[in-house]
């Protein structure tokens, strides 16, 4: 399947030890996209992988500074989106993808409560971006990872959302959790 992203410049951001970053970069490269540094302002594909915090909690041991620190991940992602948005709308094409925690959709999925909070903020933002940048050909979507999804599973979904064929999808949330989540909607 040709994803029709050959020649496009792509940024993938995430924790150094998060294998999903390399998995995304590998798939993008295989499709002929050029993976560039995070400060490249010519990029029209941006994938941001949120931190995984096994067993993060909103209560025990979590202070207000921990909340602000977690929220800054959303804030930094929004900053990255903004930095690239102008180039995307000028060219009439852009893809923004957030990789977050499936717990944002279903509390059964896994124990990353701070990750869920950050991801929900991003899902709200995507609706705004969809409305504001949609006319400029820019889409904003999320992949939520949970269950026993592999990094390859997650990366495949993220890179699909960057494809030409995904151009009419915006503001959506794709849960990649092997069916672990129990919510119907």
């Amino acid at each position: 399947m040709d994803l029709e992203i050959a020649g496009r410049r792509a940024i993938v951001i995430g924790a150094d030890d998060d294998p999903v970053v390399a998995a995304c970069e590998r798939l993008l490269s295989a499709e002929g996209a050029e993976v560039v540094a995070a400060d490249d302002r010519e990029a029209t594909i941006v994938i941001v992988a949120g931190s995984r915090r096994p067993r993060s909690t909103l209560l025990e041991g979590t202070g207000v500074d921990d909340l602000y620190s977690a929220w800054d991940e959303a804030v930094d992602t929004i900053t990255e989106y903004r930095a690239t948005a102008e180039r995307m709308t000028t060219g009439g094409w852009g893809r923004l993808v957030w990789i977050g925690s499936a717990q944002a959709k279903s509390v059964d999925a896994e124990q990353d409560e701070l990750g869920a909070v950050v991801s929900l903020g991003m899902l709200g933002l995507h609706k705004v971006v969809t409305s504001e940048l949609g006319p400029g050909g820019v889409t904003a979507n999320a992949v939520l990872r949970g269950g026993d999804a592999t990094d390859e599973d997650v990366a495949a979904a993220a890179v699909f959302l960057c494809s030409a064929g995904a151009g009419f999808l915006s503001g959506i949330t794709m849960v990649v959790d092997g069916g672990a989540g129990s919510g119907v909607f």
Partner: protein, 275 residues
């Protein structure tokens, strides 16, 4: 129906005006003892004096910044001292964006293109930290008694962002608050504590009325035109009243609603489009 709220101890932040005031009034009417908290003591005293007329001895006012965890802790300590352990906590802190008393659309208004990092941090403090801090400060009392009710008063934009308005900040932060409450509900159910998120839509508060007035001015329209336009989208054909928000909070506080938790319920007159 007897909701069995007589003697229960409640805290309502933003309790001096609008939706918070309506909730405080109704809980007190049902026999609860209510602490109202907000920034402005004069507003609190006026509301407390009114509640005293029909619920003598069942209201107490504390001025505090409810977006500051230290301010919240102080209110909870004063509530314990005055009435006893907290059983019902209602977080009702509004974002800046429609606070037209400040300046125009409010300092938080803006688009994705115009807003900066600090705006998102400030709104997180206003909407998320305020709600989290009140819940966290009250949970020990509730756990000790094996009974509790935690509420957040949010907005339906948590589910369906109002992308036609320059309200990016609440559109981003409110879903996070809804998730926080859902997670707390799962955690606290075994302690007999329910956690629910009540979402407004077109509730006619004083602040909303002044917002309509400001919006009309900025568009060169009359208030009637602006409100008629807003009302046209509401299937029930009218704005909601603060008392209709309070009615849901009172019901969910009751014994009868003890198995309802982790919900986000929209009081919108039927505008919600999602299934």
């Amino acid at each position: 129906m007897d909701y069995k709220l007589a003697g229960r101890v409640a805290i309502v932040s933003g309790g001096s005006r609008g939706i918070g005031r309506a909730i405080a009034e109704l809980l007190a009417t049902e026999g609860a003892r209510v602490v109202i908290a907000s920034r402005t003591l004069s507003n609190l005293e006026e509301t407390a004096a009114h509640i005293e007329t029909f619920a003598p001895g069942r209201v107490h006012a504390v001025a505090a910044d409810m977006t500051d965890p230290a301010g919240v802790e102080d209110v909870v300590a004063q509530t314990r001292a005055h009435f006893g352990p907290v059983e019902i906590a209602v977080s009702n802190v509004i974002g800046h964006v429609i606070d037209v008393s400040r300046e125009g659309e409010g300092p938080g208004a803006g688009s994705f293109a115009s807003l900066g990092s600090q705006d998102y941090r400030d709104e997180f403090r206003q909407l998320f930290v305020s709600s989290w801090a009140l819940a966290r400060a009250c949970i020990p009392d509730m756990q000790a008694q094996g009974w509790g009710r935690i509420f957040n008063i949010g907005s339906h934009v948590a589910r369906e962002p109002a992308t036609h308005l320059p309200h990016v900040l609440p559109n981003v932060v409110r879903p996070a608050v809804a998730g926080m409450h859902r997670l707390l509900a799962a955690r606290l159910a075994a302690d007999g504590i329910t956690v629910n998120n009540i979402l407004t839509g077109s509730i006619l508060t004083e602040r909303n009325a002044s917002y309509w007035q400001w919006l009309a001015g900025s568009r060169g329209q009359t208030v009637e035109q602006v409100t008629a336009e807003a009302t046209a989208h509401i299937p029930l054909g009218r704005m909601g009243q603060p008392s209709e928000m309070a009615a849901l909070v009172a019901f969910l506080s009751s014994e009868q609603a003890s198995r309802i938790t982790g919900q986000s319920l929209s009081v919108t007159g039927g505008t919600a489009a999602h299934v």
